[in-house]
Amino acid sequence: MNRILKVAKWQLRDSRKAILIFYGIVLSVVGLIALTNWLYGSGQGKAGGLDANEVVFCFVFGLNSFTTAFKFTQANNVSRRSLFIGSLLSLTSIAFLLAVISVIFSLVLRSVMPYENMVTQLYRTDAILTSLVWSFALNTFAMFLGWLITMIYYRSNKLQKLLVSLSPAILVFSLVLLARTSIGGMVFNPLIRAIRNALGFADLLNPNPHVAAFSFFVGAACLAALNFSLIRRAPIRE
């Protein structure tokens, strides 16, 4: 347990700089928007979606959270299991922290200018707890996805890396080809319905952000399970 906490502590300490830089940029952008608003007025428009950057940050953070930590923990002879659990703790803590900051940002911005965060834009709700849970779930999912991709790269040989890099393009291309065939609708309609339901849009008039949060958490749990299967036998590469 002790070593797990040390790993989490290391990763949290290591993340400080990146988080500070990120929020430095966000604050500058927010300051610029507020200044423009003050100088020229808000007009009819609304600002929003700053929290989308946070999701991108979480994804990129996930991408950068494996190799360095793995090597460093191996230098200190820490088991992969401890690294995995320590990473789970630190990544979810960071995802939660960013969600809290995001909610606070929304509240502050809403009080000074017309602003809508992603939850309000998508689900027409401004409940604080809902926003917090939804952001936390999405951040965790994005972070674990980045973590998984970097781990797949680490475990892959050159050919596998190439395939992984090309896989998004191959997937899109295959879907486009599939859409043009007669069975396209048979595949796409249930797929789109499933994604819509998972994101809480089963009833378009009353979308449910809690369903989406639940889906993101389930997705994050599945990604974590995949991550563990990749890390548990990962050899050190010098």
Partner: protein, 287 residues
């Protein structure tokens, strides 16, 4: 006090068998030299002991506990790898501080003291260190870790002669003060031979010898002199190597020196001398 038991370890990379059924027991509080030629898979063995890679077959046990993903067993080992696994942006002092987190017995004062002796700048980042100072930083962490098993893989890589000498001195001093199991893998056999208590020689993925240095050296000698006389002397003896220079010949004999041998050497006007560990190693791994 930690005993390492290596039981029937095999490691295969694709179709290549790197380690072939290695059985080895390393007693606590001894200094072992793991010797082998390039590609003998010394590092593979060390990586297996420290759970850096996984065996194809067999198990490695420390004080009765399998090392496989076992934090309790792994925390007893500090492994100074040849490669640096520390983040390149980490400062030396931060590396020390984090080592203290993972190895609670890490002696910070000793580490600071050694840094001063070696002239290691604590404020430098890992990426700013030369190869030699990179090795020094890792060696200092290893020595100060106070782990009961300390493994060094090429610890003096990039070090100048002065620093190498200092390292050997500090290694012995640290061992005398706080005995531990030390495994050193190096190609600089001549330099390290004074430090080692026991040698393990690995060749083609197999352990071909494990013996106390003193016993090993007492079981071999060199006879030299006029070539024809040397040939007469070694008749029927187990020779592992020989060198000829004009009429002069020197041969390493892998046997205990008997009184009859001494008498024969005197009669043939030949010189008898001890064998250097490095020469013996070359003889054993060349054959």
């Amino acid at each position: 006090m930690s005993t390492i038991e290596i039981k029937g370890i095999c490691k295969r990379y694709g179709s290549t068998l790197a380690l072939d059924n290695v059985d080895l027991t390393l007693e606590p509080n001894r200094i072992y030299g793991l010797l082998g030629r390039n590609g003998a898979d010394k590092t593979t063995l060390l990586n297996l002991i420290t759970n850096k890679i996984f065996p194809t077959q067999g198990e490695i046990v420390i004080d009765g506990a399998n090392v496989l993903e076992n934090d309790q067993a792994l925390s007893k080992i500090f492994y100074m790898m040849e490669a640096s696994l520390y983040p390149s942006s980490l400062r030396v002092k931060e590396a020390f501080r984090w080592s203290k987190e993972f190895y609670p017995d890490f002696d910070m004062n000793y580490a600071l003291n050694l840094s001063e002796k070696f002239g290691l700048n604590m404020n430098k980042r890992v990426k700013e260190l030369s190869t030699g100072y990179g090795s020094i930083m890792k060696a200092i962490i290893a020595l100060a870790s106070n782990a009961s098993i300390v493994i060094f893989d090429e610890p003096v890589l990039g070090l100048d002669a002065n620093h190498r000498e200092m390292f050997y001195r500090e290694l012995v001093a640290s061992y005398s003060l706080r005995p531990k199991t030390i495994i050193i893998s190096t190609h600089l056999i001549e330099e390290i031979s004074e430090v080692l208590e026991e040698v393990i020689i690995i060749k083609d993925g197999r352990i071909i010898l494990k013996q106390p240095v003193e016993d090993l050296l007492s079981q071999a000698y060199t006879v030299s002199g006029e070539a024809a006389q040397v040939e007469r002397f070694i008749e029927g003896k187990r020779c592992v190597s020989g060198e000829t220079l004009g009429k002069f010949r020197a041969v390493t004999v892998m046997e205990c020196l008997q009184n009859t041998d001494r008498a024969l050497a005197r009669e043939l006007e030949l010189d008898l001398s001890g064998v250097e560990l490095q020469k013996l190693f070359i003889s054993l791994t060349n054959s």
